[in-house]
């Protein structure tokens, strides 16, 4: 498979870097705490979603601010099929991802058929995500505002059951890792394929691409299909990792924005940027939460003080600094300094 030629893009330095990174990731459960593993799992999950989002904006120039929609419909459908009909997620993932793709195609069709571009396309994605969030609020069959829960028995936490996605936190951690790397390999081969070049042409100058006979409608649709499909896979993972789904916490616009922050910080349009962004933002956010808890419990700051919004505030600050000083993101800048990658497409 082409995607696994990733090593060919890397300099020797980059290969060593990647190996070290992989070694740390793979060995992590053996020397860290269960808390760190849960943070790392969410980090990898967001790395998958960041790549999915980057595929649309970074590759094809389509701004989505409704990615939570694709994650959410897939998560809800897979969870519903499992909890009500007993259909294991290994099968349920197919209709779930298909539903996410159909949502993407619907938005794409409306947006591209009627030439809704740029920020108006983003508004369309927000509108659909909100529409579905409010609808799910009122759908009693999947719990409405009360939420949809997956049964977890004591034994589930110990074994490894990939068919039903029940098991030890380590299982979810390694599964997220495999999915994140498969996504990376997939995105790489897409970017290096003809499709990747068509996307680049459309992103850089849509009129010129159209003048050359590139079927802009079709290739934009492909971008949405791949992106929503990946988000759908992540959605199934999310449902079975969290075991509880609420309309607000699944479809809320905060979720969609959270997905976009990683790639923006890491580097929109690059392959490794979204992964790097996730590994910067998630641990930073969690670290802050921990720090605040620690400071509260040790009495350095008043335990009653309300600092709930601090994480978001710091994230906002980080994003603002990145946009101001490294608008292309951290990865392109880091790569220039360290020379990990032979030729990362911008």
């Amino acid at each position: 498979m082409m995607g696994f030629n990733m090593l060919a893009d890397l300099t020797n330095k980059g290969r060593i870097g990647l190996l070290l990174f992989l070694a740390i990731l793979i060995s992590l459960p053996f020397w860290s705490s269960s808390y760190i593993i849960s943070v790392a799992t969410i980090t990898l999950y967001l790395a998958i979603l960041g790549q999915s989002w980057n595929l649309m904006l970074g590759f094809a120039g389509l701004l989505s601010l409704g990615h939570a929609l694709f994650v959410g419909v897939s998560a809800y459908l897979a969870a519903y099929l499992f909890s009500v009909l007993g259909l294991p997620p290994v099968i349920g993932i197919f209709p779930a991802v298909l539903l996410a793709i159909l949502m993407g195609m619907l938005i794409g069709y409306l947006g591209f058929r009627f030439s809704i571009g740029g920020v108006y396309f983003a508004l369309l994605t927000i509108a659909f995500a909100e529409l579905v969030r409010i609808s799910v609020d009122h759908m009693a069959v999947i719990g409405g505002t009360e939420g949809l829960f997956l049964q977890v028995s004591e034994g589930d936490r110990k074994g490894v059951d990939l068919i039903n996605l029940r098991g030890h936190p380590w299982m979810f951690y390694y599964l997220a890792m495999v999915l994140a790397f498969l996504t990376l390999a997939g995105c790489r081969s897409l970017l290096k394929s003809k499709l990747g070049y068509y996307w680049q042409a459309i992103r850089d100058d849509q009129d010129a691409a159209q003048a050359l006979g590139i079927n802009v409608f079709r290739y934009k649709m492909y971008a949405v299909i791949y992106s929503s499909g990946i988000a759908g896979v992540a959605g199934v993972f999310y449902a079975f990792y969290q075991n509880s789904l609420f309309p607000e916490s699944v479809f809320g616009i905060e979720r969609s924005i959270e997905v976009s922050l990683g790639p923006i910080v890491g580097g929109v349009g690059s392959l490794f940027g979204p992964v790097l962004g996730a590994f910067i933002l998630t641990p930073l956010g969690e670290g802050l939460t921990e720090l605040i808890d620690f400071l509260k419990s040790s009495g350095i700051i008043d335990p009653k003080s309300k600092l709930n919004g601090l994480k978001l505030l710091i994230w906002g600050l980080v994003v603002a600094l990145i946009v101001l000083f490294k608008p292309r993101g951290i990865w392109p800048w880091l790569n220039d300094k360290l020379g990990f990658c032979r030729k990362e497409s911008d």
């Binding site: 070049y197 100058d205 009129d207 010129a208 003048a211 050359l212 006979g213 802009v216």
Partner: protein, 234 residues
């Protein structure tokens, strides 16, 4: 070869073209002259399928192309060199050229066409691995023309090909257009450089406020008082 009949084009409520009639025969060079905002670019976009007329029809070699998608129109053999060159700056020169050959009719002979383009413009061969954004204005225009040729069109529409170029390069561009015509290509030339384009053209149309107001051979229009006054400052 190409026939535009009674075409109206609107952008929202604003009318850009009104009752346009135009025909192009195989092997001709047609010039379309007119002031800024007269509708020249709109006409090219209507023919290319980027905008759809609200009335009238456009036929190309017995195919009704009025409502076809732009990619399908390219497949039939209509290419364009758009205003402002519109190259992809981050791609290499070579990749830009390959982008020109994405349509089916061009794929089979891609390598041969590429050789021909390199023969025509050796500088593009020299710079093929360079990012296109680093080329000079004149080289970018060569690239835009070369990229259009990669699609193996039979009819090329040039939109303001001399815009923003140094005089020596403008001459080079017009020479190229002449050579392409000699080689059998049909040309529609939209130009602000009225004197040169009328000299080059077999026939020409004058466009004013979205309407065709004059039509004639290049020679006739060149000596028409109205044209001389309005567009050549004579």
């Amino acid at each position: 070869m190409l026939k535009v009949q009674d075409v109206d084009l609107y952008y929202g409520d604003a009318q850009a073209l009104e009752d346009i009639n135009l025909h192009v025969e195989e092997g001709e060079i047609i010039a379309i002259v007119g002031a800024n905002g007269a509708g020249k670019t709109s006409m090219i976009k209507a023919i290319a399928g980027i905008h759809t007329p609200s009335k009238g029809s456009i036929t190309f070699r017995d195919n009704d192309i009025t409502r076809l998608q732009s990619s399908a129109i390219c497949e039939l053999g209509i290419g364009q060199v758009a205003e402002g060159r519109q190259i992809f700056p981050a791609m290499t020169v070579r990749e830009n050229l390959e982008m020109g050959a994405v349509i089916k009719r061009a794929r089979a002979k891609e390598t041969e066409t590429l050789d021909r383009v390199f023969e025509m413009y050796p500088i593009l061969k020299e710079r093929q691995t360079q990012a296109a954004g680093t080329l000079s204005g004149g080289e970018q225009q060569m690239l835009a023309i070369g990229r259009c040729l990669m699609g193996q069109p039979d009819l090329i529409m040039f939109d303001e090909p001399s815009l923003g170029l140094a005089p020596a390069i403008v001459q080079e561009v017009f020479r190229t257009i002449h050579q392409l015509n000699d080689a059998g290509l049909t040309i529609i030339l939209v130009e602000q450089n009225v004197a040169v384009s009328l000299k080059l053209a077999n026939r020409a149309y004058v466009l004013e406020n979205g309407r065709m107001t004059l039509e004639g051979s290049g020679e006739e229009l060149l000596h028409d008082d109205r044209v001389r006054q309005a567009y050549m400052g004579l």
